[in-house]
Subunit: 341 residues, 2 copies
């Protein structure tokens, strides 16, 4: 395949094509501060301060529209950063917030966004402690870009969790219904308004995840990741590939809302390939899976948590269909829903 000379939309989709651009963007020689570095492409990176493992992560948010059923760009920004820290076993401590704002942007909308970010912070005990504001000329930006970076600490009651340590025999748990965020965004853009039938799941998951991780013996959660861009399909394939294992999931077990499945059929979009903003995917030691599942289900954001499959020898991700067949769950090449976060 000819190498692209310009950035295209596929490069930002979280799918396979993105890898090509990432080769350029991760070419830093200075890419590691003594822990997990940039080259790992995990949800966050790590280094040590005063004997503690610190997790650092960043995301810039360009979701369009900025207000949508179930949330807004502010809630997406805070939740995205909180969740990247939480899936690595860290407690979110301090966040940054940098906004680039187009001239003419309504200040009332900024007020709503700040209030929404604040509410999400309040759900998990984290704070935005520093920020930056840039204003650019009308026409040189489509509204607003919000970057949040976050620092978390791996506390003594938790442990560092990677996305790459699935082990043979692990149960795969998803913390709730899949595809809600991406499908809500695209349906809203297409002019459907299905109210509560189809809305984003965007939520900060620290409390839910911390409860689940500490409900099982230390180390029992082998791997965790949040299925954002590229959805469950991209997430579970990355987890399987990094661990050198095969994942088998049961179609009947996959939690997809009827409204999301219907919208997906109508729009020709696979709910497993679109972003979630309030879910996590875990690989858990089989003997601890029930305890982790029970803890997830105790939290409102995890009430639909379910074991969807298990880890076996081999490679790739397959789904056993209800008529007894098997089909591969492929990572999306691009993304059917650009600007989803």
């Amino acid at each position: 395949m000819k190498k692209d000379t310009e950035v295209n939309m596929m490069h930002g989709a979280g799918g396979e094509v993105m890898g090509e651009l990432l080769q350029t963007l991760t070419a830093f020689k200075h890419n590691n501060a003594g822990g997990i570095g940039l080259e790992s492409l995990d949800d966050g990176s790590t280094f040590d301060i005063g004997g503690k493992t610190v997790v650092l992560t960043t995301d810039s948010h360009v979701v369009k529209p900025i207000f949508f059923p179930g949330g807004d760009i502010g809630r997406v920004a805070v939740s995205g950063t909180i969740n990247d820290l939480s899936v690595m076993g860290a407690r979110p401590v301090a966040l940054t917030c940098a906004m680039v704002i187009e001239e003419g942007f309504p200040i009332a909308d900024l007020e709503k966004i700040v209030a929404s970010m604040d509410e999400a912070l309040g759900e998990c005990g984290a704070s935005i402690i520093t920020g930056d504001t840039k204003v650019v000329e009308k026409g040189s930006l489509d509204g607003i870009v919000i970057n949040t970076a976050g620092v978390g600490v791996v506390d003594a009651d938790s442990y560092l969790i990677r996305d790459r340590a699935l082990a043979i025999g692990d149960k795969i748990i998803v913390s709730g219904t899949l595809g809600d965020h991406g499908m809500a965004i695209v349906a809203y853009r297409e002019g459907f308004d299905l109210g509560d039938q189809l809305k984003s799941d965007v939520a900060p998951l620290y409390a839910m995840i911390h409860g689940a991780v500490t409900a099982a013996p230390k180390g029992a959660v082998h791997a965790m990741k949040d299925p954002t861009r590229g959805g469950f399909a991209a997430c579970i394939n990355e987890m399987a590939r990094k661990a050198g294992v095969k994942v088998v999931v049961e179609q009947d077990a996959m939690p997809v809302r009827e409204s999301v499945a219907s919208a997906g059929s109508l729009l020709g979009i696979d709910p497993l390939q679109v972003a979630n903003e309030g879910k996590c995917v875990m690989g858990v030691s089989a003997d601890a899976a029930d305890a982790v599942l029970a803890a997830l289900k105790k939290h409102p954001y995890g009430k639909n948590a379910v074991i969807v499959g298990e880890v076996v020898e081999g490679s790739g991700v397959v789904m056993r269909t209800r008529i007894g067949g098997e089909r591969f769950i492929e990572p999306p090449m691009g993304d059917p829903v650009p600007r989803v976060c």
Copy 2:
């Protein structure tokens, strides 16, 4: 004055008008993690991990053009973050890099930007350990936005330095010539090419600042800040206001290159009101000022360092002119040079 209902260019200028927008953007209730918080509007904020003081900062960069005499957006992004940490007495450890890229952006330009960021990191021993990439449709962004957030640690040989602790009798030191970056950007935009006569000073200052801070008795550097948007004028006024003191500087001592002064006259722009990206402003105990100055001058980035004035009782910032008069140095209301960083 009627409160604006929309964001305008003045809001992003680093000048006085920006304060109005900042009231909205700093309305977070969750704004502090046990140290210096968002409400302080210092160069960075702090919290503790494992008994160490950690400094956190963020900046999004929208400089236009992205390549300019003396630097590029990548060097500005890394240097800006390094310098925010350094002026607070911290050693830069780990940075994040989040890019929002317009569809069609040349990959060769990304490669140049990454190489430039890497070079700046190498100058100060810091690393970019995590990142994010978003691609947006052509026309919805003017090129690229780069956010860098950074984590630094206040080591035992240093100490936390604020922007607000100027004390009566302190000497004011600037680490080199003023206005180079902002004037280079605006002159280049206007079509002047003066080569080495007029180029940005963008540079990562950790080594220079660390050398200066540790050359004097602990605590002798009372206050420090980097004079970015709004230039020296905005910076020194903020420092004086926060400390409740008056600063008097000598016109003859102010280090401004002839080329910068000439371009300023031609364009009607005050060199003291435009951004620097490789300078710091310090308030130093009088008995330690010579030692700090000598240490600054030993480093290439500080070779033009000079004592420009001192702190007295009162308020505001005045400049004694060479004919014996006095005039106020006012903080700019807006900014003569938008998108300078």
